[in-house]
Symmetry: C2
C-alpha cells in the first residue's frame, strides 16, 4: 500500500454496477477481451509524445471537475450502501467525495502531467568495437492491471500514472465504490475520446465482480503487470493467485533503532515523528529498539512523550522498567513484534547490542523501512549494509519513504519485493526497457 | 533459455543422488531449510568486497580443474544411464564432460571474476531541498533459485554469476546430470569453505527430486527469485507453479523483415547469419518477412542461398512463387508462423506493407528479437517504436541478442518478460536496489 493508505477492513458488498455475465467462462472471456482491447489501445499511447499525454491528463482533470456533480451524486449512492452495510466512519470518510476532493484529485493529475516522461529515456548506450550501436531505452509496459480497495481517488491516480507512462490500465476497484468508479471511469473515457485517444486506454472490470478479478489475474500474456493496492489480505490473495507478474506493495512493520551513541533529542524527535506524525500509514514506526547504553537517558523522555501523545506502549521487561508514571504500557509478546499496528501503539524493546537490533529486524521486519539514530559512523554503516529493507534511514524519520518525499513525483505504491521495483514506485517503475541495436549490415562472425 | 542453449527433449530419469525423504511434507521442510541456510550464508556475501568474491571464484575454478578426474568419472555414470534410457546423441553430447570442457567451464568462471561488481553501484542519488541525502544503491537479491535441465556446465555458470553478484544459489538440475552435478557442487562447496566462506552459498536440491523443485517454487519469502533455464515446458511449469517471483527466460520466435528499400546483399547476409550461423539457439531467425516490392530482387537470391545451406523453407503462396528450382520449399501453415523450429527450417512470407509485417510480428512473435533490413529512416523508426520485443535490430543480425555480444559480460539467460529484466540478463539483473536516506535528525513536517 502507499504511505497514505491504511488497511481497510472489509467493506466489500455485492452490488456491481452492471449485471455480470452468468458463468465463469463468460467472465473470463469478457475480461480477456477487455485486456485485448487495452493492448490495442496501448499501442497508440506507446508512440504518443509527452505533449499528447499531458494534454490528455489535463483534459481528464478538467472533465472530472466539470462532472463533479455527477460524481458526487453517484458517490452518495455508494455512501448510502456503505452505511446500510455498517461501514465504519473511517472507511466512509475514505469513500466520500466532495467537489473539493474532486478538485484535489484533478490537481494531482495535473501534477503528474508536470512530471518528466520516463518513456524514451536512454538507460544505457554505447558503440561496441564492431561498430554495433546499442541503446537500452525505456518503453511502456503495455497493459497495467490495478486491483484496489475502497478509495475512489485511486481510480484516477492509477489511470493518470499509467497513461503518463504510456500504458493502458484495467481497473478493478472495491465494490463499495462501484457507483463512484463507474462514473469516474466514464468521465475519463469520454475525455480521452474527446482528445482523439482510444477510450479503451482506461477500462474498468468492476461489473464482473470477484470473478472478473480472478480472470484478470489469469490473463498472463494479455496483462503485463498487476499491482494490488490495499490491505494485506488483498495483496496476499493477488500474489498467490496471479499468473500475471505482480508487484507486491506491502505491509510496513517498520523499526526505529536508537543506538548507544544517539543524540537523545534527535532520537525522541525522530521516534515521535515516525510514530505519531501520521498513524495508519505503512511508513509509520511500529517497533522501537533501544541500545541498553542509551536506555536510561532516552527511554524515560521518549516513553513520556509517546504516552502524552496517546500511544499505547508494549514493552519488554527492560523497557517496562523505564515506563513513566501513568503511562499506558503493557508487556509485549512476540505477536507485538510481528504486528503492523497502523494505530497509536508501539512495541518497545531494549537490546544489548547493534547485532541484536539487526537480528530483531531480520526476524520481524517486513522489509519496508528501518531507521537508525546514531552518531557512530561504523554503526550507521553496518546498519545500512546489513538491514535488508527497501529503505534504510540514518538519522531521519521513517516517514520519508514516500515517492513524493524522495523526489519521484507521484507514487504508484511502495514495493516491498526485490524484483523490478523496491521502495516507492514512480513513473519509471511502470515502464520496461527495449534494446535497440543498430548496424550497417553487421552479422555475427 | 540462453542463446547457446537449445530445447532438450525429455532426458529426465528417476535416479537422484541420495535417497529423498519419504513424504512431501518432509521434502518441503528440508528444502525450506536449505533456503533458510542459503539466506544466512548470503548475509556473509552481501557485505563481502569484490576481491573476496573474485578470489572465491578463482578458487572454485582451480578446484574444478583439480577435480576434473572425479567429475569426469561421475559424468561417465550419467552418460551410461543416459544411453540406457535411450538419450539422443545430441543430448548425450550436451551432457558429456571432458577435462577440456571442465577447463573451459573454469575459464568462464575466471571471466566472471574479471567483470565489474554490480553491488554498490549508485543507481540514483541526490540531495533534496530539505537536506535529505538520497542514494539508491545496488544490493544482492539474496537467494537465487535456478531450475534447469541437463547441461552440467549450467551448474557452475549459475553459481558463479550468483556469487559474483553477492547472492547464495540453490540449484535444481536435471536428474540426467545428477551424478555430475553432485560432484561439481561438492567441489564448489569445498572451495568456498577453504576460502573461509560459507559452503551453503551453493546448495543443490537434486536429492529431493521433483518434489524438491516444487518445494523450491513454494518457498516465497525464503527465495528471492527463481530463474528457469531450459525448454518451453520447464519454463511454463515454473511460471505457472511458482509463488516465488520468476524471471521467464524464453522462447525465441524471431523474425527478420526485409523492407522495400533493403540492400539485397545486406539482407541476404543478415538472413543467412540469423538462420544458419548457429541453429537451435533462441536468437536464430524462424520467420522471414519480405516486403512485396523487395521480393523479386531479394527472394530468388535469398531462397537459393538458404536452400543451398540445407534450410527447409515453408512459404506462403507468394513466397513459393520465387522458389528456385530444386529448393526444398513447402506451403506454410499458421502453425509454421507459430513455431520456433530451432532447426534448419524457416517460414517465409511476402507482405504488402511495413504495417502487415508489424502486424504479423504482433500476432506471432514471442517478443525476443526482431530485425528490420532497410535503407529508410522512417521505416526503421516505426519498426523500432512499434515492435514490442526485448531487442529490435536495425540492419544487424538477430544473433547479437546475447549478453556477451551486447557487452554485458556473462549472461544468466535472456528474459522475454517485461518485469525486472528484459533481454540478456547480466550480473546487474541478479541484484535489487536499496534506498539509503541520510539526514541530521530530519523529520517530516
Amino acid at each position: 500500500m502507499t504511505q497514505d493508505e491504511a488497511t481497510p477492513a472489509g467493506g466489500e458488498s455485492t452490488g456491481a454496477a452492471t449485471p455480470p455475465p452468468s458463468g465463469t467462462a463468460d467472465v473470463t472471456a469478457a475480461v480477456h477481451d477487455v485486456a485485448r482491447r487495452a493492448k490495442v489501445a496501448a499501442r497508440t499511447l506507446a508512440t504518443a509524445n509527452r505533449m499528447t499525454k499531458d494534454a490528455a491528463l489535463g483534459a481528464i482533470a478538467d472533465a472530472l471537475v466539470g462532472s463533479a456533480d455527477r460524481i458526487v451524486a453517484a458517490n452518495a449512492g455508494d455512501l448510502e450502501r456503505g452505511r446500510a452495510n455498517g461501514m465504519s466512519d473511517g472507511l466512509l470518510d475514505r469513500l466520500a467525495l466532495t467537489p473539493e476532493r474532486i478538485g484535489k484529485i484533478a490537481d494531482a493529475l495535473r501534477d503528474v502531467a508536470g512530471l518528466p516522461d520516463p518513456v524514451g529515456e536512454v538507460v544505457r548506450g554505447q558503440t561496441l568495437p564492431n561498430g554495433l550501436r546499442l541503446r537500452q531505452i525505456r518503453v511502456p509496459m503495455g497493459v497495467v492491471g490495478m486491483i484496489y480497495e475502497a478509495r475512489p481517488n485511486v481510480t484516477v491516480d492509477a489511470a493518470g500514472l499509467a497513461l503518463k507512462s504510456g500504458n493502458a490500465v484495467i481497473l478493478r476497484g472495491g465494490s463499495a465504490a462501484a457507483s463512484s468508479n463507474e462514473v469516474i471511469v466514464a468521465v475519463m473515457r469520454d475525455a480521452l475520446t474527446a482528445r482523439g485517444l482510444p477510450a479503451d486506454l482506461v477500462q474498468s472490470i468492476d461489473a464482473y465482480g470477484r470473478a472478473g478479478g480472478v480472470a484478470l489475474m489469469r490473463a498472463r500474456g494479455l496483462v503485463d503487470v498487476l499491482i494490488p493496492r490495499g490491505g494485506a489480505d488483498l495483496i496476499q490473495t493477488v500474489v498467490r493467485e496471479s499468473l500475471v507478474p505482480v508487484i507486491e506493495t506491502g505491509v510496513g512493520n517498520v523499526h526505529v533503532y536508537v543506538d548507544a551513541t544517539a543524540d537523545v533529542d534527535m532520537a525522541v524527535a525522530i521516534v515521535m515523528n515516525a510514530k505519531t506524525q501520521r498513524v495508519g500509514v505503512c511508513n509509520a514506526a511500529e517497533t522501537l529498539l533501544v541500545h541498553q547504553d542509551a536506555a536510561a537517558a532516552f527511554l524515560p523522555v521518549a516513553l513520556a512523550a509517546l504516552s502524552d501523545a496517546g500511544v499505547v506502549l508494549h514493552g519488554d521487561p527492560s523497557a517496562m522498567s523505564f515506563a513513566p508514571a501513568g503511562a499506558d504500557m503493557v508487556p509485549a509478546t512476540d505477536e507485538d513484534w510481528a504486528t503492523e499496528y497502523l494505530a497509536l501503539e508501539l512495541g518497545v524493546r531494549v537490546v544489548p547490542s547493534l547485532d541484536e537490533a539487526i537480528e530483531h529486524i531480520r526476524t520481524w521486519s517486513s522489509g519496508h523501512t528501518e531507521a537508525i539514530v546514531t552518531r557512530d559512523i561504523a554503526a550507521a554503516d553496518r546498519f545500512v549494509a546489513e538491514v535488508d529493507s527497501a529503505a534504510v534511514m540514518v538519522n531521519a524519520s521513517t516517514r520519508f519513504t514516500d515517492g513524493g518525499e524522495l523526489g519521484l513525483g507521484a507514487e504508484v505504491g511502495i514495493s516491498t519485493q526485490k524484483l523490478h521495483a523496491r521502495g516507492p514506485m514512480g513513473l519509471s517503475e511502470l515502464t520496461t526497457t527495449k534494446w535497440v541495436v543498430t548496424g550497417d549490415g553487421l552479422i555475427r562472425p
